[in-house]
Every structure is written in structure tokens, then in C-alpha cells.
Chain length 729, copies 2
């Protein structure tokens, strides 16, 4: 399957439910304070094209529509029921829906599992009946749904226009807020909205899959408080982002927020930093502020992607060119370096005092001639070094600020920008300080599908999302995720032994696991007698060695005099061994001493940490960071879902703030990044191959310009997991 | 002078210039494309109360106002001239203005010093004439000025309303952008605007002082690309912030932005991080994003300050309560811990499923009863643990979303909030998702001076600024900046000796400087012979010592075998000395060896760095950070203008991200912060007392739970500065 062109294998059942030819409104009402009234108003006002069947035993007509006393008596064949009645009535109604052939029900009532044990029992009862009758459930406890392209507006929101932004939101207020924002700025329209509610049947991931398939949705936008099956979500997201942008705002970025979220939805929030890393790994565009959701969704919906992160700025005000440069730089975007040819062309059309270095500052050249801005945009868009074009300043307002007579020229400029946007494959993003008052030239740009922003900050977030998406798609096309290795029978047996004995792997076993899968682990020999010492001396030659006592009775080896460093040659080794034995026995006369471990001294380098965890939400995850304070104090770590692609591994190494240290500081050579990337990939493959491996911790690994040395390895064994034929096949 | 109640000693001449009884518009025009037309329109449309004298030799009337052929022929006594003519004409016109008794001139033309050498000469000529005739200059190359409370609108901006936000902006586009934003959201009004332009006479700092004095300005708002006399700016800012909030947006936060700014204004940008620290030290509210300028200015103008950073959130939607919690936490604010009494009162009015833990989630309790939100606000505002109240959700929209019949109750709620805002000293900040469409209840709140936001992010920035300002004012009231010490004659002589010899201080001199001002520096003795060694052994007793060769010929002491560590007792010292001498002479037979330096081994602890620099813009500045990668790679440092207050010093230690390390990690004890604060204050005093000290670098200082040890000290001497009587007095 080509992930860009392809379609998801299973068509979501939501297509039928959310585009019904008829709808039963159970609990429809003429009382304006009732939800059953609101929904009727929404359907009627928006001109729902199918049949509406209000169900209410106490009314003949509701808002001019004939009402029916029960579901059984409805004459047509509605696919969807909206249930507005209280929780207790729901299980019975679901059975009735099922008997009437209704395929899906939207259940607004709360008072189910989110409430108490009694509610949970009611929810189970409801689900049992839904399954028995083949009725799919949206909710319960949902804020509702709409599908504006089918004029199905069960929320009765005023003034929402059909468009291409699909929304799934775990907060009804958030949907409302986005709808009001869209109404206010008048640019964005919506396709489908779903409030997942308790997700007792159809869940978050199913809704995302549906938005991925929905032809009216060009961008899927999600407000998430907590994931349930995060691992599956990442899989679905990967499929959907290959086809269209997915924008996620995840709340609970702080401990305070997570506490608030868990009291709201009861969802387990998990580490925010990890969640963000994993979402990005699946191609999701993550926004960090709630007021960026709609601008970013709009921009991605209209422009989809940029080839890269090199932005050309055209500005008619030096101050705002500076602000734009600051924000671009902070967002990890680059100011494109314009070619000499481009600069020459700009010089030909601009005043001498203009700056033709990016950010281009026209310095008054356009005051009497605003369409010249379009010419400048065309010139920079033609430059191979430019991935996207950012117009900053007062375009649209020249005829207001300077002279009305400029309106004609300004409209010509707008027309030229529209032509340019069609001709060039590069995104054009416009910030104008006149955006709030929507002058004609900006209205023209907007009609033609160019996004116009009232905030430099928001425009830059859009440019950043476009660049990230373009780069993501490029690397996804280039490579697939690295395949897992086949588990080795003797290592699977080793895990089983540990499981039987109710213990984790011994360090030497952990190191064996690594070694057998191609990870270089320094040789370690346990010397038990003079003969073994002679043999070890033979093998290590003149290599400086570390020697450590091996005894289950001696925990603090150094305190017991059980460690000798920088030992070279057989004579010194013998002396060191005797000293260690003597000292340890003096320290604890009863200690059972197995022998002395001999291994080469670790080379100097940078300490890094690799860890594998099985996250309860997201499954197996690899963590990488620098050792010591970087992980513990600065929390400067990167996470990726296992298995990693090569790009993922490379990206992890570049992501951490301490990457400068890996690149070499204070005259140190850069570490061998390709060896490090190779190590990350091998660890990922091992974790993928052995489901019995619950956690893995390489801490520290010393990396330097020659490669790496795994100093310590720890593997926690999943005592529950019993390897199946499949997992050892 | 009480800094809160007091007034600035000198009244700014700008009061007369910016509130003139008459204005001459030189170069007034009937051509709508000319600036001399725009200005006339602005004055007439806004109803300027004084006399308008268009000056244009070619016209009798301009826009219905009698024109005058020259300045000399004007009949009245205008205080102000607006000069709209090209640069070359300006010097002559200034003389004419002066002869006519005009006190100030606003000069729009560019083509002066910002252009080229010829322009610079023209500017000098203009200034010579201005000084000769006592005419004060705004500009040249200014975007203009307005003083809306005097209906003096020389920019001819439409739809700007008089209000209490004063603005100084180094970008005309930025002013325009703020004016359009204010027009759009319809809440904010302006007092005075000035574009400082080339600042050839009146400068940035004078304008700030004027806004500080101006009775119509409740908050001064500045867009700054670069400071000139930054030290003086900080002084003026300190005086003004004691009276009213000062909001600064400083562009050039990144290298890319600084490059763009310098090509725009030619201003030297300086370190952004340092600038932000110094501005905050002077009580300035720094905003980081351009779209936060107006929201923060508005909020500070209306609400001025909060007692602290403990915020109570009242929300009608769990999702947005979560977002608010995230943003508050990220901004360094706290979710106030509500007292049991407060929670009990909330429980009495809310549904059982409501959460009375902050963030308070009313969970549907207000759906049919929105005025209950005001009741909740009143309950939490009465809690001593609460410094400000943040209402989050759909207030104002209940009558739109639920039922029109709720409008009456919603208006009662708004009225109750207005009453509460008057009764409580605590700021009430409202985010409503209905803000964009301005429903009646929100309009009522706004009329009463409560700021209403359309973005949780902006509302939180306002809460943060209110809390910071409240805490700043509290500490300013408590303490003044620490006074400088008196220079000691022998140390001044030491500096003079170094100056004469054209060198910096020797390390031992630098340490002497520190010691003589009460900083503990470990004892160091240079041992030149056996007798001195015996004497040193006597003094150090059983203290473990470090011994190092002292020789100008041996740079790499360790390589030469010139260092011995952990030496204890006279015999070992003697042996170490002999070994050092032998080894060094073997290393370089010709080396001239002065002796061997003996000092106690540095204790274990955390390495920190203290530095003093004389910044070209901001003058003497103290820098503090952790050693090694923290300064070099992570740039995790704090800056304060010298002299520091005790609060400044304490604040520096708390500001760095690595503060956790000072608090003790991995079982280490916390370092002695009071000793560290004491060290910072002493270094500040020394730098203040000795202007000959150009730079000071204590790197590293080892701090631990027992105190600190200055390991290395370096002092760079200002070779230009000659100590005056004053500076040594």
C-alpha cells in the first residue's frame, strides 16, 4: 500500500451513521430549554436533507414536524437515532432502535460509567443490548455530533459554516470555542464534529479513522485530554497523516493540568513530553496553545505542506520583519538564504534603501505601489532556496492608511498573489495588521484559499507545521520502520528461565542479549582462580583494566576495597586480585566471593542513557538522553514508539537540547553519531523481538568519537508474559 | 521620596509640546497622498481644541482652514510645529520656528543620520539651530505622535479612542497594528503615542518619563528594537514602575531577529536574556510575544497588580479548566489552595458532582443559573489563600447557547461581578469563549472596567503580569538597593599601579580585593624556601593541601609535574615541594621558578560562576550561573544591574533552571544559599565601588552546605578610567 495515495482497508461504519437519510430524535421537545428542542432546531434550520422523526408520546407535532409516540411506530427507515432522554431510559431505547433497524445512536445523557458503579452497570446493560441488536453507539455523555456537509447539526450551533476542518473534542466547550472563533474571523468552516463522550462502543481512534476517510475533511483536529489505547491511536494516526494533516492539542502539559484533567475525564494523562514525541513520530502536528488550534488547522487544511523549513519574509515594516525573524528562529525555521540572482531581481524593483537580505524590507518602495509586494513574493518564490513565502505588514490596508486611490493597485496585487499561489507549489502565508478589519484585498485572498493571519505568532506556527509536515512526508516516503529481528531460541530460553525463577536478567545475561544482537559490549571475564587470571591476562594484553569483586554479599564494592582501576599486565592483575580478596575478607569475613570481574577501563566520552519502557497507554517506548543531571534534573530526553525507523533514531539524537555536547565542546571531538543511531535501532529491535522484556536500561553508555561502550545493562523481565509460538516464531 | 506615591522631580517639557494650544502644520497640503494632508485631516476630524495654522506658501485655505505663507506670518502663539517637508528644508524651518517662539517640533522627514554621512551633517545642523533657539525636537524620521486626550492626532488614525494606554514604539507598523487590534476588540483606548525616530534631541527615556508623569496614562507600553542609554533607561523605568505599570516588548530575541533589527534601526541589540533580566529587575512587565502586548497592557492598566501568584479558577467546562491549569503552571503561577471553609461554601451552592478543588469545575451547576458563577467568584475571592480570580468558560453566552430566558440571570451575574470587583482588592480576570461576539453580559463587565479575553493564553499572561508587579512593588517597598562600600585607599592604589603598568590585576591581587571586602578566599601561601615551608606547615596543620608550582615559564603545570594534591603534614609537604621542583626543572631546565603555592584542597560542592561585566548599553551587570555546561552550553544564567538589592541576589539564585542542583540532588545536601546571596551582594558592592574594575570573573566558586570557596579570581582593569576624587571619596 502506498501510504500517500492509498485508502484505509476497512471503511468506517460511521459514514452511514453520520450521513443518514433519516433521523429519529428521541425525546424531541417543544420546550426551548431542552436538548431535544435544540437538536430539532438545528436540524430544521440547517435544512437537514433527510427525514426527521421526532419521538415523543406526549406530542403530535414538534416545531412543525409530525411526532411519533414510539420508535416502533416510525414509518421510514432512519439510520440514526439521537437519544435526548435520561440515562435510565437508554438501554430499553437501544433495544427498540435495534428492532427498528437503526444502525447508530447518539446518546447525550450522562450518568453512566463516568458517574458511579450504578452508572457503569447501566452502561454495560446498554452495550449488551447494542451488541445484541447491532446498534453502534456514539457516547454516552457526548456533547453531540455534526456533519455539516449533510446538514446534520445535532448541536444546533448557529453560524457554523461547512468547510474542511473535522473535529474530535473531549471538551464540548472547546468545540464551542473553536466554532465561535471561526464565526468571528469568518474564514474557517467545518466538516464533521464528534464528542466521543464515554467511548463505550465507538472510540477516539475510530473517529480519527473516519475523519481520515471522510472526503469533506482536509484536516483532522483533535482536542485530547487522555488517550486510552494510545498504541492503536499512533497506528491510526500514522495511516491518516499519510493522507491528510492531523492537528492535536493535548491538555495536561503540566502536573497541575494533569490533575485537573483526571478529575474531568478520569483519563490517565501520562507524560506530556513523551506523548508529544510519539504523536510527532506518527506525523501529527502538535500545537501547544489552545489559541493556535484553529489557525494551524486552517493553514494546514488550505496549504497542506511545505517542502522544508526555509522561509522567505517580505515585509513593509522593519519592526515586524524583526519580530517575524525572532519567531521563525524560535520555531526552528530558517530564514532562507536568497540567491544573488534573486537579490538582483529584488534590487531592480525596489528602492535603493530596501534590504534584499532575508527578511526583505521594502523600505517604502511599496507605499505608492502595493502590488509590488506580489512581485517580490513571486521573485523569492522562484528561488530554489525558498520553501515558503511569508508576507508581513500592512497589505490590504494601503488604501486605508495612505490613499483610497491605491485600492485598484492593491486589488491587482491580491490577484497576482492568487495567481502565484496557484502557479507555485510553495505555500504563501500572509500576516497583515489589517486582518481584523477584513479589507477588500484580504477578502479576495481569503476567497482564493490563502490563509490570512492577525498575529505573527500564529502565522509562524502555521509555517512551522507546514514545514514539519513536508519533512515528515518526505522521510516516510523514503523509508519504512525498521523490522524486528527474530528472537534467538537460547535467549528466549534465558527469559523463560528468569521467569520461572521469578527474577530479572542477571547483568551478564542482559549483556549477552545485547551482544547476541550485534551490540558491542566490552568483554567481561570473571576470574575465579590463578589459571583463569592467566587466561584473562592473555586475552587483555596491555589494555588497562578495571577489576571488581563479584559477591552477592558485598553491595558497596568500593567501600570494601573491592575495586581496582587502571590495572595493566598479568603481574599487576595478580597483585590487584589478591588485594581485592584480602580487603574484602577484612571488610566482611563471612562474605561468599565468587571471583573478580575483569573488564577494559571505559574510555572517556559522554555518558548517555537508553531506556525501554512498556507504557500502559502507548506500549513499548524507547527513551534517550544524556546521563546524570540531563535526565534527572533537566528532563532533556527524547521518546519514540518502538519499532523505530532510522529517521526516528537520527531525530532523537538531534532533538535533545544537549546535542551540542554530542557535537563536541571544549575541544572534544564529536561523538560517532552513526554508531549511536545504530545502537538505538538495535535496542529498538531487541525490545520488539522479546515481549518478555518489560524494561531495559543501559545506564550509562559512554559514547565518543570511536564509538560506544555499554557500561551497565539492566533488563526487567515481564513475569506475566508467557512467550507464545507466535512471539518466538 | 516614597517611590509609590511620589512624583518625578523634573516635569518633562513634553507636557507643553504634546498639549499645545496651537499647532503649525508646515507643509500642510490638500493632496490626499501627502502626509501634510493626513495630519490636517486627523486634527480636524478628532476636533483638536486649539488653533491650527497650516503653513503653505501656495495655498490660501487647506481643508477649510486659513493657510499662512510662512511661519513668521502666523498670528497666534502655537507651542508645536509639525514639519511635513523634506529633510533639506528642516534646519531653516527650525530657526524660523525658534524665532516665532515655538517650543517643539515633530519632524517626519527621513534622510538624516539614519541614511548617510550627508544626512548626519544635516541632522547636526538641525540640532545646532534647535539648541540655539530652544526648540525641542521629536524625531526626525518619526512615524508621528498623538495625544488623544488633547485631540492631537498627528497620525490621522481612524477609530482610535482615548484611553489610558500610552505607547512608545520604534516601529510605526507596530503602533498601527496595536491601534487596529484595539479598534477590533473595542476595549482598549490610548493616551499618548510617540515614535521616537532618530532621537536626536528627545530620547526614549524622556518619553518614558513623560508617560510616567502623564495623568491620562495608566500604563506605559513600549516596543523597543534597541536601547541607547540602557543604564539610564533602567533608572527611569524604576521610577516609573513605582507609579504605574510599564509593559515592554523587546524584539531581537534571537540572532536572526537581532540581525534584522540592526539592519532596521542600526541599534545595537545586546543579549536578549540579559535585557529581559535587567528590565524585570526594574519592575518592567516584559511580554515575549507581540500579540500579548495589548492584552497585557489592558489588563495591567485596568487592574494594576495582584498581591501574589495564587490564582483561583472558576470554570464551567472541565477541558478549559485543564488548559487554564496548564498555562498558569507554565507561567509560574500557582493554583491557590482553597481553604476547607471556602470549599464548604462552594459545596453548599454547587451540584454534588462539582469539583471544589481549584480549578473549581461547576459541572453543570450554572447551566440554568449563570449568576451562580459570580457567587462562586465571591466565595473564592474571600479566601485568604487567593490573590486573583480567573473565570473560565462560557459566561456571557448562556443566553445564546442554552436559552434566551437566561439573559436576565446572566446580567444579574455580571452586575454581581462588577460589585465584587469594586469590593475586593483582588483582580478578576475573565476568559469567555463568547468574547469575540461581545454579548450583553460581557459588554457590561467591560464597561465597568473588567478586562475580558478571547484567549486563555492571553488571560494567563495578564494574571502573571499582575502577580509579578504586585510582588515587585512589595519588595521595592521593603528594601532599597544595597549601598556601595567605600573604596579602600590601598586597593585603589593597587588598581592605579596596574593601570600604570598597563596590566590587569594579578590573581593574588584580585583575591586580596575580595578578601579586604569581606569575601572568604582560601588562604594561599607561596613557599620559596624550607623556612617558609615550615611556617606554612604550621599554619595549615593537618588540612589536606594542593601544591602548585609558581613560574611564569611553566604554563601547563600538570604536564610539568608541577601539581601535587591532597598533601598532609610537613614531611609530605617537603617531599611534594622537592618532587615539584625536580620535575619542573627536568621539564624545562631554564624555567625561573618563584616558589610553590600552597592552599587547602577545595571542598566538594557545586561549581558556580560569578561575573561582572560593563555592558556598553546597560553598564555594570552581575552574571550568575552554574559552571561548565550550564553556562557554556545551556546558557542558564541570570543577570542583574549593579548595585543589587538583597531581593535581586536571592532572585538570581532562584531564577536559574539548575536551581534544583543547588537545592541538593542525589542525596547531596542543599548548598548554603544565604552564603551565596551574601557573596553576590559583596561582589556587587565591590564592582560598584571600583570603577577601575572593568570585568571580574570568579570561576569557579565551589558552594556546598558549609559555604563557598573562591577557587579562581580574575579582574580586568579599565586602562582608560582614571579614578577621580569622587570615585575614591
Amino acid at each position: 500500500m502506498n501510504p500517500i495515495e492509498g485508502h484505509l482497508p476497512i471503511r468506517s461504519p460511521l459514514h452511514d451513521i453520520l450521513a443518514p437519510t433519516g433521523i429519529a430524535v428521541i425525546g424531541a421537545s417543544s420546550d426551548p430549554t431542552k436538548r431535544g428542542y435544540k437538536a430539532m432546531v438545528g436540524l430544521i434550520k440547517d435544512g437537514f436533507r433527510g427525514d426527521i422523526y421526532p419521538v415523543n408520546p406526549k406530542a403530535d407535532m414538534i416545531l412543525g414536524v409530525k411526532a411519533w409516540p414510539s420508535i416502533a411506530e416510525i414509518p421510514g427507515n432512519p439510520e440514526l437515532a439521537l437519544i435526548c432522554t435520561p440515562a435510565a431510559s437508554v438501554p430499553g431505547l437501544i433495544s427498540e432502535c435495534g428492532r427498528r433497524g437503526i444502525k447508530g445512536a447518539v446518546i447525550l445523557a450522562s450518568g453512566f460509567a463516568e458517574m458511579d458503579a450504578e452508572g457503569a452497570a447501566l452502561e454495560s446493560e446498554m452495550m449488551a443490548r447494542a451488541k445484541a441488536h447491532g446498534v453502534r453507539i456514539i457516547g454516552p455523555n457526548t456533547s453531540g455530533v455534526f456533519n455539516l456537509h449533510h446538514r446534520l447539526n445535532l448541536l444546533a450551533l448557529d453560524n457554523v459554516r461547512p468547510g474542511d476542518v473535522g473535529i474530535i473534542s473531549q471538551s464540548g466547550n472547546m468545540l464551542l470555542s473553536l466554532a465561535l472563533e471561526a464565526q468571528y474571523n469568518g474564514q474557517v468552516g467545518f466538516s464533521t464534529y464528534v464528542g466521543p463522550g464515554n467511548q463505550s462502543d465507538i472510540g477516539f481512534n475510530d473517529y480519527l479513522r473516519y475523519l481520515g476517510e471522510d472526503e469533506h475533511t482536509r484536516v483532522a483536529t483533535l482536542y485530547v485530554e487522555g488517550f486510552r489505547d494510545g498504541r492503536n491511536f499512533l497506528d491510526v494516526a500514522r495511516e491518516v497523516t499519510a493522507m491528510k494533516p492531523v492537528v492535536v492539542y493535548k491538555s495536561g502539559s503540566t502536573a497541575a493540568g494533569q490533575k485537573a484533567a483526571s478529575s474531568h475525564t478520569g483519563a490517565l494523562a501520562g507524560s506530556y513530553a513523551m506523548t508529544v514525541d510519539l504523536l510527532k513520530q506518527s506525523g501529527v502536528s502538535v500545537v501547544q496553545h489552545s489559541d493556535e488550534i484553529l489557525p494551524v488547522a486552517e493553514g494546514l487544511g488550505l496549504l497542506q505542506k511545505a517542502r522544508g523549513k526555509r522561509v522567505a519574509v517580505i515585509s513593509d515594516g522593519g519592526g515586524q520583519a524583526t519580530i517575524a525573524s525572532d519567531r521563525l528562529s524560535e520555531a526552528g525555521l530558517e530564514l532562507a538564504e536568497l540567491s544573488e540572482q534573486t537579490r538582483q531581481k529584488l534590487r531592480e524593483v525596489l528602492f535603493p534603501q530596501a534590504s534584499t537580505v532575508n527578511p526583505v524590507d521594502v523600505a517604502g518602495s511599496t507605499d505608492a505601489n502595493p502590488s509590488l509586494l506580489a512581485t517580490c513574493m513571486e521573485i523569492v518564490a522562484a528561488d530554489d532556496n525558498v520553501d515558503s513565502v511569508f508576507l508581513v505588514g500592512m497589505f490590504g490596508g494601503y488604501s486605508i492608511r495612505f490613499a483610497e486611490s491605491l485600492l485598484g493597485d492593491e486589488m491587482r496585487g491580491a490577484e497576482a498573489m492568487v495567481d502565484l499561489s496557484k502557479a507555485t507549489g510553495k505555500p504563501l502565508v500572509v500576516y497583515s495588521l489589517y486582518t481584523p478589519i477584513k479589507p477588500p484585498a484580504l477578502r479576495r485572498l481569503h476567497e482564493a484559499g490563502l490563509p490570512i493571519y492577525a498575529s505573527i505568532e500564529h502565522a509562524v506556527r502555521v509555517l512551522s507545521a507546514l514545514g514539519e509536515r513536508g519533512q515528515y512526508l518526505a522521510q516516510v516516503e523514503r523509508q519504512s520502520r525498521e523490522r524486528s529481528v527474530t528472537p534467538l531460541p537460547e535467549l528466549s530460553a534465558m527469559f523463560q528461565r528468569a521467569q520461572r525463577e521469578g527474577r530479572d536478567l542477571f547483568e551478564y545475561e542482559a549483556k549477552q542479549l545485547l551482544r547476541d544482537h550485534g551490540i558491542e559490549v566490552p568483554l567481561e571475564l570473571v576470574v575465579r582462580n590463578e589459571a583463569e587470571l592467566a587466561e584473562a591476562a592473555q586475552r587483555f594484553g596491555e589494555t588497562p583494566l578495571a577489576m571488581k569483586v563479584v559477591s552477592k554479599d558485598i553491595l558497596h564494592k568500593s567501600d570494601a576495597g573491592g575495586v581496582k582501576l587502571n590495572v595493566v599486565g598479568e603481574a599487576a592483575m595478580r597483585e590487584a586480585r589478591q588485594a581485592i580478596l584480602a580487603s574484602c575478607l577484612a571488610y566482611d569475613a563471612g562474605a561468599e566471593i565468587e571471583g573478580v570481574l575483569v573488564t577494559p577501563m571505559a574510555k572517556k566520552g559522554v555518558e548517555v542513557i537508553l531506556g525501554v519502557i512498556r507504557d500502559p497507554i502507548f506500549g513499548p517506548v524507547l527513551m534517550f538522553g544524556l546521563g546524570g543531571i540531563f535526565v534527572e534534573i533537566l528532563e532533556d530526553v527524547a521518546f519514540r514508539s518502538i519499532p523505530l525507523s532510522r529517521h526516528d533514531a537520527e531525530d532523537m539524537v538531534e532533538q535533545i537540547k544537549a546535542r551540542k555536547i554530542l557535537a563536541g565542546v571544549r575541544g572534544e571531538k564529536a561523538v560517532d553519531k552513526s554508531a549511536l543511531v545504530d545502537l538505538l535501532l538495535k535496542v529498538s529491535r531487541i525490545a520488539d523481538a522479546y515481549p518478555e522484556l518489560s524494561e531495559l536500561d543501559l545506564n550509562p553508555v559512554i559514547v565518543n568519537s570511536d564509538g560506544y561502550a555499554v557500561v551497565d545493562a539492566r533488563v526487567i523481565v515481564d513475569r506475566e508474559h508467557v512467550a507464545t509460538k507466535e512471539s518466538v516464531a
